[in-house]
Subunit: 304 residues, 4 copies
């Protein structure tokens, strides 16, 4: 399939798309991003690439990082992980304390904030230098040593991250956080601050499209079974309260971030990343969603 | 792939499986089913069949019927349907009134009871003889005129169906039910009473595995796009509060019923139905879940 | 104390009060009431009366009737009553299904709709002719045979009373309704349709201000202890989600109805009723609330 | 009335009362209190005292302190206070985050933890030395300079006060906390650590029973209107999720603390404090509730 041609059509079609959403504005660093930024990069299992726009510009991947930390935690804990966090979609907004209260401190899945904070707690408990090792992990699966945290952004987010402090304190009261609050929140905002371009993201996520192996080297990092499960989680829980909508319209496992990035994979076909900082009412990239919907429509391919 | 061999292994492995759940007991007709019943039938797009156990014995399909009525409603209303019901997974139990209240009368998806009741309301508004036409539809996609309602079961369920009366009345108060309450509830319990065997169910669901065409005749009934979306909905919403778990462990779109039936499809590969009346705590067939998990493990195939 | 003088001041002060609320409009019979209606009647334990405005015009007492049915149910069941309904204020709007779900079918108090419907169920179970006996009861404590139901209003409300049907069906599913749904809802709308004037209401409620005895005859109907408890319930639960506000500003036990009536009592001092059909956002009479606040401010008397 | 005789009867009646609850155990300092402690002190507006048991032993007043801080905040802010906190009873447990989420950061009343933390924020914003000034206030209304904080208890509670940290962080995210989190939580646990005996508490609360004036000196500190409102709040919100029950059975405004203390007042009659550290399932002193119920039954006096 000629993916470059499809991406060209997407770029053309969405050029004048009126995006009504807003750029994430709660921290100055995110708010000052140019709202016209728009890029996409697709990486096929046949090693071909297709791209357009600002596809090589780095941006803050935010919640997309939750897929990386989950993968690490699954490797560390195996099945025991699921005593600390569930695998069910959340019917409530991503920062819902109500649901957490109802579920007695067990987050519904690892991709809502509470779940990612429990994952962070697990990494902090089990790794010597969690920040370093997360970075090593991402560089490894990306085959790219040029990926790093944005320390200033991390500090800025942390200084106003009261909701996440509330979540960690609440789960600590309920016994599902083992380390001290400050350490967890600090690690969490570092992971969110990872700066990557669409190209880099699609390379990193190829491991999920390629059954757990790095495409370039053939090195197998994760079992098919683990990858299958992470992909299933991205399918049902990757888009907060819009997971059903994304599954319904796009039909691929994926994960979005409040920085405007979305990554999706078609198992054994490709991984793809798209970036536009304008968010819809549910906190997902408006153009990103539209671009991916066009991709599966034009290619005639979804997992269903 | 030799599916019969895989099914034989599943039968063998689960023969002495201790199922801890209970048979649905709220109506005498369901409660008196022999809890040892267990059958499975797989129908491949290569027209081959594999089966074991009580695979030709009819049982009450209950909520599996929601897939049929949704398909009919999508054909009748097109995109307008989604103003009446959403496509998001439900984070609460299947009969939750709380969520409905929070969402102001718009059910989160067509597979929770409130959603199916709205779908029933749509069919009653748009069809001359909804019961007849639903039966015609199921017989047509099954290529089998020997499928029918269980009138006694329908009447029995209706006589104690207070939760569903509550849901319809509540949505009527909020403006999302147009017809009279009695008609909707009556139709709903009839659809739930449809009696089908695993074999019949797997034949009926082949249309969803086969891109909207009847396999035997090649007749195309639904666009690929409609089928893709129904499959996506089964993936994210087909198992009430256990949709994530099923997706995570099995990795196929599917739908369960409180009668103990589960149907699942692997697009362009097969449709499969399994039946065991013992339910787990979340209301899904315990052995059915285990059997399907084994199926995707043994076949090495999931959509992810 | 010269209550007539105080009532004159209230009338004068509120003459040009701009009430912003709406008349209850969900049924034609209530919607067509003249929004300028305004009357008040105070009945002292010294047998003196004070009044102004439309104080002798009958209106639909609606939820005020819940005090009468509760009193009857307490007489019939004694302490057993509290296994069926709780005595706690409700933190949610008066028709909340969520709360009922959370509490597993036990309404938080007898003055929210679900609670009053359970009380109705109790009366239907224990009385031969509940409508007749309720009417007898109200006529007796009012010493007035000229009080009756508004049959047309009752039928009209019932025809659109979907929320109450939902509540009864839901509680029946949870086992807290013993009789058939239709009978309960029918009785409930009859009790709500009772038509009484401010004068009649203040006479009826004198029994609660006068320690359970009819003032005119001295006949004791209820123990002090029962009356004390009913008054406590009016204090904490009489105004739906505005009970705290009323207690805070007025400081008297009372009960409001969606017809615009409010009744309040000062134990061993007086009973008072006020009527203005314009409702505030929480469903209580806007002028009625203001009038009663002025009453306790001007008289310098509250129970606190 | 001979209150000493009534208290003697209460002591006698409850001597062998089997209290089934537990002593608050979440902090060692509270857990090690002897569960057999039991004392009561009543202070009449006629300046007479009645008492029994451990009535002069100091204990941690915990949430009873919320009445003092509310009184100070009302003096500082007047009506503006009610933009920050509501006056409605809470239908949920005292530390409910769900309700706070639903109400968008405005606590339902000043006596649930979130409300008291907002009050703490107000005092921190408006006072130079809040801890000092709160102590001065309590000593003043008690006419007793021998009242102080328990610094060790305060530090101990703070070290595990994750729920309160969660509440403050959450409200800060929603804009209803102005100062830094640490300062608020620190102040809050100091106020809770105030150590007072039943005698001291009944003296302190006489100002609420005596229309805002210190009984011994006649000095008027607060307007009748303010006192009336605080008393109304104690009536509807003083006992968490058991406020209705207390109002129903006791019929007096009051406030409980998790240290096992309860204080109640009968306006223009008396103030009374009781202490027993065994708590019922809703977190209120089991014997304390029983003792106060007996008090109003035996004296035949409630506000209703």
């Amino acid at each position: 399939m000629d993916y470059q041609k499809i991406l060209n059509t997407i770029e053309e079609d969405l050029k004048y798309y009126e995006a009504y959403g807003k750029v994430a504005s709660y921290i100055p660093e995110l708010a000052k991003i140019d709202r016209r930024k728009f890029g996409m990069h697709l990486y096929g299992v046949d090693s071909k690439h297709a791209a357009f726009g600002d596809s090589t510009e780095k941006f803050s991947i935010q919640s997309i990082s939750k897929v990386f930390t989950l993968t690490m935690a699954m490797k560390l804990l195996g099945e025991d992980l699921w005593n600390r966090v569930d695998v069910e979609p959340s019917g409530d907004p991503f920062n819902s304390l109500s649901q957490l209260e109802y579920e007695r401190g067990i987050p519904r899945n690892p991709f809502i904030n509470s779940g990612a904070l429990v994952i962070a707690d697990i990494l902090v408990s089990n790794l010597n230098d969690p920040k370093r090792e997360l970075l090593d992990f991402v560089r490894k699966i990306s085959n790219n040593s040029n990926i790093d945290y944005d320390n200033i952004l991390a500090a800025s987010e942390k200084s106003i991250g009261f909701r996440n402090y509330a979540l960690v304190n609440y789960m600590k009261a309920l016994g599902n956080i083992k380390n001290d609050v400050e350490t967890i929140v600090d690690f969490y905002f570092f992971q969110c601050s990872l700066a990557m371009s669409c190209e880099e993201l699609s390379r990193a996520f190829m491991v999920y499209a390629n059954n757990g192996s790095i495409l370039q080297t053939g090195e197998n990092l994760f079992s098919r079974s683990k990858i299958k499960r992470i992909n299933a989680l991205m399918q049902t829980c990757g888009f907060y309260d819009e997971a059903g909508e994304f599954s319904f319209k796009v039909g691929l496992p994926g994960k979005s971030g409040v920085g405007g990035g979305i990554v999706a994979i078609h198992p054994s076909q490709y991984s793809v990343a798209v970036w536009s900082p304008i968010l819809n009412a549910k906190g997902n990239s408006e153009l990103g969603m539209a671009a991916l919907e066009k991709l599966t429509t034009l290619s005639g391919l979804s997992i269903f």
